[in-house]
């Protein structure tokens, strides 16, 4: 099937999103000249391939279901926020709150991700090629996050059951987030995640696993948080 091209200099965002929401949609789509547009390719439900040729603004591919969205540029705040399934790839860097609250699917950021990457994540897998900023994986509930570079301050603050893998340094851990043993199942899980994101050359043993110490799960007198 031929690729369908949407040029955002010729077509309003509303029409592009409406076209991508058409019931039973299939095939490949290319969005040209996004010029930092917000809310591009949000709310997709069909297993289509969407390639965005350039930079996008806030919430690109937000709440994605089943679609595969590739952004050949940088992404603004909240890329793939609340994604349920499918794949979102950012070739460049991502701004804050990448993958926020996402329940499923795979988010790959080949460059760096800013603050609050994976905040409140609820089951998504996130693989970041570079570094993540402060407050990443804040209140992360479920899912896995892989950071091939370094993590900023307060990693995994108030984390629940998400698993974090960081290869580089962590500036500081947030409340209740601790380093944990890398058992064979974790090495295996990490290897699969790296492979799915195209980083199969990495040695999983070079990563450290982080997760919840589970000391904040119940209110008690000694808990000052």
């Amino acid at each position: 099937m031929d690729q369908v091209i949407f040029d955002l200099t010729q077509m309003p965002l509303r029409e592009v999103n409406a076209a991508l929401h058409a019931p039973g949609l299939a095939g490949d789509f290319l969005v040209e000249n996004p010029a930092g547009a917000h809310n591009l390719a949000v709310g997709l439900t069909s297993p289509v391939n969407v390639t965005v040729q350039g930079h996008v603004g806030y919430y690109a591919a937000g709440m994605n279901q089943r679609a595969s969205v590739s952004i050949l540029g940088n992404a603004g705040t909240g890329v793939a926020e609340n994604m349920m399934s499918g794949t979102v790839t950012v070739r460049g860097n991502a701004s804050q709150s990448a993958g926020a609250t996402a329940h499923g699917g795979l988010l790959v950021i080949e460059g760096n991700a800013a603050a609050r990457c994976g905040i409140s994540m609820k089951g998504v897998d996130i693989v970041v090629g570079g570094n993540v900023g402060h407050g990443s994986a804040f209140m992360a509930q479920a899912g896995r996050m892989v950071v091939r570079g370094d993590a900023g301050d307060g990693l995994g603050d108030s984390i629940y059951e998400a698993r974090l893998y960081v290869r580089g340094t962590v500036a500081s851990l947030g409340a209740d987030c601790v380093a944990k043993e890398m058992r064979p199942e974790h090495l295996e899980e990490l290897a699969a995640l790296l492979k799915s994101a195209g980083f199969e050359g990495d040695d999983p043993a070079a990563y450290t696993r982080y997760g919840s110490a589970r000391t904040l799960y119940h209110f008690h007198a000694a808990n000052s948080y």
Binding site: N39, G43, M63, N82, S97, T101, S120, F219
Partner: protein
């Protein structure tokens, strides 16, 4: 032995106004436990409220409508500014957001039945949409909260309106709480949390931080739902004038303002009683903001929903007269279902409370089967009977509001206006911006 108040007077026992018995009990409780008091309900302190206002019925200078013969409309349209499908409600009394988790599934079911019977809306809460709730609710508002528990685009599309929640009156600036007793397997599954933990919800949204961001967020919600749904923005009453202006600038179709009497399922007592402003003080600020933006009660305007302490049709009428387009009820709806009913008096006593005083919604042992996830307790609430009771109550609220509106000569309840009101106290006159009864004086606005 325990003394009656007569005994105390005879013996010359004098209670401290500063350290009254509730205060002393609070200090003793804190000293024993080392944990702050968490409870349900809203502010319990005395506050300037709708009781401090009176209507000026028609006489010589105004012409009343016949009480039982002449029509007095009650319908309201919400969110027609941008949405393809605005909400068209038969009455201006809606059901406020209350979560499945805080409430039992049967309670949510009953709320849906009651509201649908009289043509009004219900609202989800922190924890997502249940199939029962969607199924029983003719008009369902889906809350979009900082935690995003259970948030998914399929439910977003099933909703009739979307309410972006920035805060609630019981705790402006605070996130939700649900204690472990209520995190059942189903609740935990819906929220992606471990079963039985004490859950803290975030107080800030994870992917936007201010009104400029909110503008983009609202557009995202519109794009995802193809501009079909009205978008509400809910704020807890605090800096209401500014909050409402910013909400409108951000693109809200409807603004919901929840005063400090608004209820909660679980919040620190200190938060409930000491943060936020009364509903009465918030409404005129919200109305002023809408008027200055030219969107108050205009065909393509922004509607105002007010909540926090609505109990009677008089409260409904007063909120509308001050400029609200509709009201929302939470605590009163639960009472209508059977909360705090004397039939459970013995069981309230076993829990250290009493019918009329029970506020331990956080505890999960609600004898009425409403604020619980206990399968046995939940069975005590019959959703059909609960729905019938709620529908009755909503009808009474509506008829009471109509009674007052007709007496003031209004052919629709939303035709009530501040000019129909006077205040009994200087405080309420200043807050509501209506004259002190018998005078033309509105404090702060000269003679």
């Amino acid at each position: 032995m325990s003394f009656t108040s007569d005994d105390r007077s005879r013996l010359g026992l004098r209670e401290s106004a500063t350290f009254d018995r509730a205060t002393i009990a609070g200090i003793q409780r804190a000293a024993e436990t080392g944990v702050y008091d968490i409870r349900g309900w809203g502010a319990k302190r005395a506050l300037p409220h709708f009781d401090d206002l009176l209507f000026l019925g028609a006489s010589m200078s105004r012409y009343p409508l016949e009480g039982y013969r002449e029509a007095c409309g009650t319908d309201v349209v919400l969110g027609g500014r941008n949405a393809k499908f605005p909400l068209r409600l038969d009455i201006p009394v809606t059901i406020a957001g209350m979560s499945f988790g805080a409430l039992s599934g049967r309670a949510k079911d009953a709320l849906g039945r009651g509201a649908s019977e009289v043509g009004t809306s219900t609202t989800t809460g922190d924890g997502g949409m249940t199939p029962e709730e969607r199924g029983q609710s003719k008009h369902l508002v889906y809350q979009y909260l900082p935690s995003r528990y259970g948030m998914n685009p399929d439910d977003l599309r099933k909703a009739d309106a979307i309410e972006v929640v920035l805060g609630q009156g019981a705790k402006p600036g605070g996130g939700g709480m649900l204690l472990g007793q209520k995190i059942s397997e189903r609740v935990a599954g819906m929220r992606t949390l471990p079963q039985g933990i004490d859950q803290r919800s975030a107080s800030r949204h994870p992917d936007w931080t201010g009104p400029d961001d909110l503008t983009i967020k609202i557009l995202e919600l519109r794009e995802i739902t193809d501009w079909e749904k009205p978008i509400y923005v809910k704020v807890g009453a605090s800096r209401t004038y500014y909050d409402v202006k910013l909400a409108v600038h951000a693109g809200a179709d409807v603004v919901v303002v929840d005063g400090m009497q608004g209820g909660t399922a679980a919040t620190q007592d200190v938060f409930i009683e000491h943060v936020g402003i009364p509903t009465l003080a918030a409404i005129p600020q919200a109305v002023q903001a809408l008027q200055e933006l030219g969107v108050h009660r205009k065909p393509d305007g922004v509607q105002l929903i007010v909540s926090g302490g609505i109990r009677t049709g008089a409260d409904v009428a007063k909120a509308l007269a001050l400029g609200a387009d509709a009201v929302a009820i939470g605590t009163a709806a639960l009472v209508a279902l059977g909360d705090n009913h004397p039939r459970w008096a013995a069981e309230y006593e076993k829990l250290g409370s009493a019918a009329g005083f029970y506020d331990d919604y956080q505890d999960g042992r609600d004898p009425a089967g409403i604020s619980t996830q206990d399968p046995q307790l939940e069975q005590r609430l019959d959703p059909v009977e609960g729905g019938r009771r709620l529908a009755n109550y909503l009808r009474v609220l509506t008829m009471e509001a109509q009674t007052i509106a007709r007496a003031c000569g209004k052919a629709h309840v939303t035709h009530l206006e501040p000019e129909d009101l006077v205040a009994l106290t200087i405080e309420s006159a200043a807050m509501a911006r209506v004259p002190l009864a018998g005078t033309g004086w509105i404090p702060g606005q000269g003679l």
